[in-house]
Amino acid sequence: MIEKEHVILKDINLKRTEPGLSRKVIEEISYAKSEPDWMRELRLKSLEYFIQRPNPTFGVDISKLDLDIIVNYVRPNSKRQNSWEDVPEDIRENFEKLGIPEAERKALAGVGAQYDSEIVYHNMKDYLSKLGVIFVDMDTAVKEYPDLVKKYFMHLIPPNDHKFAALHGAVWSGGTFIYVPENISVPMPIQSYYLMGSPGMGQFEHTLIIVDKGAHFEFIEGCSGQNYSVSNLHAGAVEIYVNEGATVKFSTIENWAKNTYNLNTKRASVDKDGTILWISGTMGSAKTMLYPSSILKGKGARTEYTTIAYAGPGQHLDTGTKVFHFAPYTSSKVDSRSISFGGGYSFYRGLLKVSQSAIHSRSSVECSALMVDDISKSDTLPIIEVMNNESEIGHEAYIGKISEDQIYYLMSRGLTEDDAKALIVRGFLDPFIKQLPFEYAVEFNRMINMNFNSKIG
């Protein structure tokens, strides 16, 4: 997960479509996956939307992203395996080189791993399948659970939502499907890893999570890739349906290589008394646009965000949160932080909408940005729309530097200036780091140390 500028992955024998997007390419993908007709239709319809829709009129500059040379589908020469040992050695090695921990771990209920466009490994603890929990890759779900997939797939994020949702609809491949039945508590998280190992490719995995009434579920996704001189593109989609009284915690540790455009869409709809918790760390990519959305449509629905953006040299991270209060007694809480250093640019973009019917709602949004040096930049632009008079809405934002007095205080206790800075940055990001699984937290600290020339433990 840490800096991987010098990592060189093994070249793997892969099948790929021709660059760019066309009807032919889409037919080819659909054929390769031997998909049902309705999915092929959805792809082709999405292609139409993609052609019609303009580029977003906000956010990062994507004028240098040439979609005609992006390879939209790259299939590794491996079938999906249920045992990590059966995954070809060179693919396993590539995962390990990128610091993605050994896939099978005791603390997880299930693990999936995607290499380029396809899932190469998938496994879940037996007792969960006995409880009726479904955890399969998205392509399998299309074939084995067509009713569920038809009912939910790209309903929260319709293909005509925006240009990159349309692109996703046209060429999506891989990803994860999860269904948790009523009142089932999955005691440990399920985790998926996504890796981009080929230059000039696009990854478009689709994650669909349906958590039934009263169930509890936690999902972690980790993203990584090799840095190439050409641009890579990631335009995934995450759709989460939180039913009445259910709770979902969705964590992302995104560390795409610094040549990647990360134009991702994540949305959750939350029914009565349901809860969605978003933990989101954006560390990688050259340019990111990502605004996980919570649609609170049931009475008492709740959302919480703990997000960070970590913008270093050459990175423009345009991230934020979107919350829609559509029902009474809904609540939202946002803690969004960003660091910009070494010329990095972080932009927080927020939307908070409280409808007329969402009386007695509460929202508190806090965003803070720390600028480490003079060449970096930080902006904040939240939009707040409140359409009733029985809600309590508060928003605060702060942009500032690391205080010299803090540095002096720490140095007076024997720390070097670099150590002091690293410690302050680490402390600032603590609300996020605290939420990470242990291995990720350790990796994260190593990354901060490396960026700030520090050696503190």
């Binding site: 205080s403 010299e404 007095d405 803090q406 002096y408 205080y409 720490l410 140095m411 007076s412 206790r413 024997g414 720390l415 070097t416 200036e417 150590d419 002091a420 410690l423 302050i424 680490r426 402390g427 600032f428 990001l429 603590d430 609300p431 503190i456 433990g457």
Partner: protein, 248 residues
């Protein structure tokens, strides 16, 4: 043995000259009190010894064990064994007190490798001695601490980091009588373990608990009088005005 020697020290903050020729020597096992009115430059003196970059030394020198330390950064001075306690210590969000202190201890005493448990144990003992709630070691550095808790936390750091010389800045201010007694016991414990102390204060009160061998009267950027404890008593009776008049 000579620990700190200040020679004709001049220093300024921005354009303003604050220290106007200070001479002072602190030897091993000595307690010095520097007394003076607000704005005399007492805090500046401490910051300049410690190496705060906000203060400019315009002339003179500060020696530690005979060698000039003016070119050293603040962390280097800390590692030499100089400790500064702050009137208003900084808050560091997201960093627990225990992690912070362990890190500082590692930096200042790299040879004393202590296990996590051993260190925690030592910290808890010290906390108990200073009547600091054990819970607060898990809290973030100085965040939401009361005035008294901050002062105690500074003295706790003094005990744990075990420097050669401690520069204490108005450690008594804002303390009620119980807290003052506890903090003073903490300082005395440091003194008894061989740490030299330079205590800067406006009031005599703390000197009833921490007995200095030397008292310096500090007015307008200079030490104008040095003597024993009797000077503190004289100041209490007649105020700083009398000393200043005597000088004139």
């Amino acid at each position: 043995m000579e620990l700190i020697k200040i020679v004709d020290l001049h220093a300024s903050v921005g354009e303003k000259e604050v220290l106007k020729g200070v001479n002072l020597t602190v030897n091993e096992n000595e307690v010095h009190a520097v007394m003076g009115p607000n704005g005399a430059g007492k805090t500046t003196l401490i910051n300049v010894i410690m190496g705060n970059p906000k203060y400019n030394v315009t002339s003179g020198d500060v020696l530690f064990e005979g060698k000039s330390i003016l070119k050293m950064t603040v962390d280097e001075r800390a590692r030499l064994g100089i400790f500064q306690s702050f009137q208003y210590p900084e808050e560091i969000s997201g960093v627990t007190f225990i992690n912070f202190l362990r890190l500082a201890h590692e930096k200042i005493h790299p040879d004393e490798k202590m296990g996590v448990l051993e260190f925690g144990d030592m910290l808890l003992k010290t906390a108990d001695f200073l009547k600091i709630d054990r819970d607060f070691l898990k809290r973030y550095v100085n965040l939401g601490f009361s005035g008294g808790e901050r002062k105690k936390a500074e003295i706790l750091q003094l005990s744990v980091l075990n420097p050669r010389v401690a520069l204490l800045d108005e450690t008594d201010s804002g303390l009620d009588i119980d807290a003052l007694r506890i903090v003073s016991e903490g300082i005395n414990r440091a003194v008894n373990s061989g740490i030299s102390v330079l205590l800067v204060t406006h009031y005599r009160r703390i000197l009833d608990y921490v007995r200095p061998q030397f008292v310096h009267v500090f007015i307008d950027g200079r030490i104008i009088k040095t003597g024993g404890f009797e000077i503190a008593e004289e100041l209490e009776k007649n105020g700083y005005g009398s000393v200043e008049e005597a000088r004139l």
